[in-house]
Amino acid sequence: MTVLELDNVTGGYGETEILHGISLKVDPGEIVVIIGPNGAGKSTAMKSVFGLLNLHGGRVMLDDEDITNTPPEKVVRKGVCYVPQTGNIFPNLSVHENLEMGAYVRRDDFSGRLDDIYQIFPPLVEKRNQPAGTLSGGQRQMVAMGKALMLEPKILLLDEPSAGLSPKYRGEIFKVVRDINEAGTPILMVEQNAKQALGIADRGYILVDGQNRLDDTGKKLLANKEVAEMFLGGGSVPAKKTAARKTKPKARAKARGKSKQ
């Protein structure tokens, strides 16, 4: 039984195809991390879960239910929670209102949960009535995370949750992620802070050019030399890496060709 599964998903924004067949899954209780170069399609893969793009093929399954092309608000109501990479706060709403919005689909009393969030991110306490758009980059990220945590979801999707956070809070975030996970929520996250992320991950996927490149347990990926060189910034800049990038234009051309048919 898997919680979330992408099965050979292809698709993109409008005409262009970005994902050329991505498969991945998250089992109960797991932390799964996606890494890959910029522009590989990691965020796009996340969005495919929310019906935010044109899927040309493949399926998205949630708990054995086919949710391919379900509109985002319905997916959220099914218990999938998502922190996008950009535009993840309501800039004109206050911090407090942002957090409340996180619990929009909840109808019970969530004040306890609010207190928890303020405890995790103390800097937000004194900003609670300030419009979130006036926060610093890192503070916004905290709001975005906090907002997602307001729900106690079936599964949590995080797109680069640690970007822009100071080392202290980055550590904090990973701790929070682990805590949530230990409380039973499976997590799928994209991270560029790959070492730390893989450190806490059960499994990891490496995406390149909209395709699966590798998947393995977090530990094994960390130990893999090639992976370390190509994706984790270890060692010197390898010649191979540039070679890998050079295949990209062709792949794009191919993708264009496909989508035109």
Partner: protein
């Protein structure tokens, strides 16, 4: 090169930057670090002319430039990137870069219309520079893509690319590394160093990636609650109790 003299910025009751004085030395890469909300971006905004300081002065090469409009800062050689990428969405990646250089004769409406010779020559230069920059950023394959379609990290690269399109004296980078793949980030680091060495840029970098700061920056200035907490080499700063407490926290794995 750049000196902040008792600079203050308050938002309502909050002193985001609080009587801050610091110096950025010419020809070096200065790191500016500090907890979230310490006031780093705010300082950048003031230096680059996007925000008016509440009080205090900004001196650039000995000249008081406090409160000048952004475009004049640019012409004095101060270039900044944005923490959240600010691309020209409906322009292609190449055009995004070509917009940047100063002294484009063709940008005068009248000259753009009537003096093709000079304009064409300058256009060719600008285009060449832009193409080199794209090559450098490994974005060449996306040159004709609309910038709004780039991924988060690609936009960050483009942000950096813009600083390479001009003869900058001081480049302010606001978190160039956030969201950038570590391997690429390394390259970026090399590139920044090269720009410093080959073109004589002075950098000031805000970044939360300690590896990058450690490998590039000397000195490092630590900001906390709008004030300078300490300043020095990364190794020293790293051992500072207060820095550990406020910024690095226990979670930092030393690299």
């Amino acid at each position: 090169m750049l000196e902040l003299d008792n600079l203050t910025k308050s938002f309502g009751g909050l002193q985001a930057v609080d009587n801050c004085s610091l110096k950025i030395a010419s020809g070096r890469i200065t790191g500016l670090i500090g907890p979230n909300g310490a006031g780093k971006t705010t300082i950048f905004n003031m230096i680059a002319g996007a925000m008016m300081p509440t009080s205090g002065r900004i001196l650039f090469q000995g000249e008081d430039i406090t409160g000048l409009p952004t475009h004049q800062m640019f012409h004095r050689g101060i270039v900044r990137t944005f923490q959240i990428p600010h691309e020209f969405g409906k322009l292609t990646v190449l055009e995004n870069l070509m917009v940047v250089p100063a002294d484009q004769t063709g940008e005068k409406l009248f000259l753009g219309l009537f003096s093709p010779g000079a304009v064409k020559r300058r256009e060719a230069e600008v285009r060449k520079l832009a193409e080199e920059t794209l090559e450098f950023l490994t974005l060449n394959h996306l040159r004709d893509e609309l910038a709004e379609n780039l991924s988060g990290g690609q936009k960050k690269l483009l942000e950096l690319g813009r600083t390479m399109m001009t003869d900058a004296k001081l480049v302010l980078l606001d978190e160039p590394g956030a969201g950038v793949n570590p391997t690429l980030l390394k390259q970026l680091g090399n590139m920044i160093r090269r720009l410093k060495d080959e073109r004589g840029y002075t950098f000031c970098i805000v970044e939360h990636d300690m590896d990058m700061i450690a490998s590039l920056c000397d000195p490092v200035i630590v900001l906390n609650e709008g004030k300078v907490l300490t300043e020095g080499k990364m190794e020293d700063v790293r051992r500072n109790e207060r820095v550990l407490d406020a910024y690095l926290g226990g979670g930092e794995e030393a690299a």
